[in-house]
């Protein structure tokens, strides 16, 4: 039996999620024994034509031609996994969906005239059917591995879409939100990161996107009580997963409000 083929596509992104695949060392060699890395321009010049069994797509669509890449990926792949904050909820470049792209170009680049980008940042899921969303900025290596292993075993991956808080307590972390009044999106953010930021004393900034049934209204009130201005709350909900429905809703509650 031939080995399952894996492909990795890239759209507008920082490549940090792809890098996590390379970072799977020390199990990378084992992985190569189980699957064929058929298309992964970042890691290998070798390109094996499709169809592919598992395809990871990193990044968001910011230009028209990227829609074609996404459609091609969908056609070529049996299981299409959108990864990262960009692939699942717009990524940092999704911020332009709530602003004028020209303003960003002016402020970020020395030569804005060299930049060719569309008005919006769309997740691949807005154009084609995605079989699995693997969030995170970047995605977690363990979860990435679990997705591949689960696909090889023919089962659903065990990812856990409960709030970061569950993981945080398992780590015996002191709750930052309660004990040190540090703004933290843990209660409304999906776990997968191993509660990385809170474990190091930083409030969760929501990079895995909202957990199921996230209560953004209550979260917003809590952040407000901690002294955050409406504008700061909007910024927190938008951050790198501004396209996620629950966070969009959270931002909307405070958008345009005066302090």
């Amino acid at each position: 039996m031939s080995k399952p083929k894996i492909a990795v596509y890239k759209l507008a992104s920082c490549s940090g999620c792809q890098l996590q695949l390379v970072n799977l060392e020390p199990e990378l060699l084992d992985l190569v024994g189980e699957v064929e890395i058929a298309y992964f321009p970042m890691a290998s010049r070798k390109t094996v034509p499709g169809p592919y069994d598992i395809c990871f797509i990193e990044g968001s669509i910011t230009r028209e031609e990227e829609v074609e890449v996404v459609k091609k990926a969908r056609e070529d792949c049996r299981v299409l996994v959108a990864m990262g904050a960009c692939g699942t909820a717009g990524g940092p470049q999704g911020l332009k969906n709530w602003a004028r792209v020209e303003d960003f170009k002016e402020r970020v680049y020395q030569r804005p005239d060299w930049i060719r980008t569309g008005e919006k940042s769309l997740s691949p899921g807005e154009k084609v059917k995605i079989d699995l969303y693997l969030p995170g900025c970047p995605v977690s290596r363990d979860q990435l591995k679990e997705v591949i292993v689960a696909a090889l075993l023919g089962r659903k991956p065990y990812l856990g879409d409960w709030p970061v808080c569950v993981q945080c307590k398992m780590n015996n972390n002191v709750c930052l939100l309660v004990a040190s009044k540090t703004p933290c999106l843990g209660p409304v953010t999906r776990t997968g990161c191993g509660a990385l930021c809170p474990t190091w004393g930083r409030g969760c900034y929501g990079c895995f996107g909202p957990c199921e049934d996230a209560n953004v209204a209550s979260m917003g009130r809590i952040l407000r009580d901690l002294g955050l201005s409406p504008e700061e709350i909007v910024r927190r909900f938008r951050h790198v997963t501004s396209g996620a429905e629950a966070f969009r809703e959270g931002a909307k509650l405070y958008e345009g409000q005066q302090d």
């Binding site: 075993l153 023919g154 089962r155 659903k156």
Partner: protein, 281 residues
Amino acid sequence: MSRHAANPLKPEPAVIKAIRQETYDTTTYTMGFREGERANRFSFEPGQFNMLTLWGIGEAAISLSSLPGGNGTFDHTVRSVGDVTNALRRLKVGDTVWARGPYGTPWPLKEARGRDLLIIAGGIGLAPLRGVIQAVTSRRSDFGKAELLYGARTPADLLYTTEFDDWRRGGLSLTLTVDAVPEGARWEHNVGVVTTVMDRATVRPGGGVVMVCGPEIMMKFVVKELLARGFRPGEIFVSLERRMECGVRVCGRCQFDGRFVCRDGPVLPYSDIKGRVGTML
């Protein structure tokens, strides 16, 4: 606290001895434990369940769908809807499954002895009742009337169709119904949900025991109809299905109203559920 040598969460190897495809998505596996006393004799009662493990895939609660076989075998009829049940489909005769059990409460076969028996099943809900039917048809004179009302989505979803004639010969009266008949399919029985054939049952309140198993929403309507016909809550038995991680009243997942489906159920008299919360019934 007592020191317990045995680990209740530890499964034991069981070998698949036969596989029978029931429908496009449902399969019956006949298994037997590979080692120890239970290899030749595994006792359980219809209505109980095992926890089945496929290493790397996970563990799932699956009802036993037969009487204990003479040589220690037991059946599981499985619909492929989850990880474990899907992975089971890829196994062949001779492969190993890991199992622990039996757990839970059985159907009240002893109470039904000498009395009428009405079985109402929907879809895969017939699986945990198959052992009851085997018991009744093999010891027919122990029971009064024996009637089965069985409903499925389409004719292609009916389980155990090859056993129906044996069951009839064994003295079970069968009434079949399907929700819908796809174009071109042959069907000479009733069309409609299972409650539409309830008037065909001749078992009357006070005379016997009713056993109901199927999707919870179906059981809800069946129970409602039974109560309307005068059956008492204590005469109606249902089997609940919940998520379970342990099967031994610890993990908390199957809890409803302070009860645990894995231990206080899955088979419960409706009188124990009535007025309680956490079920649709």
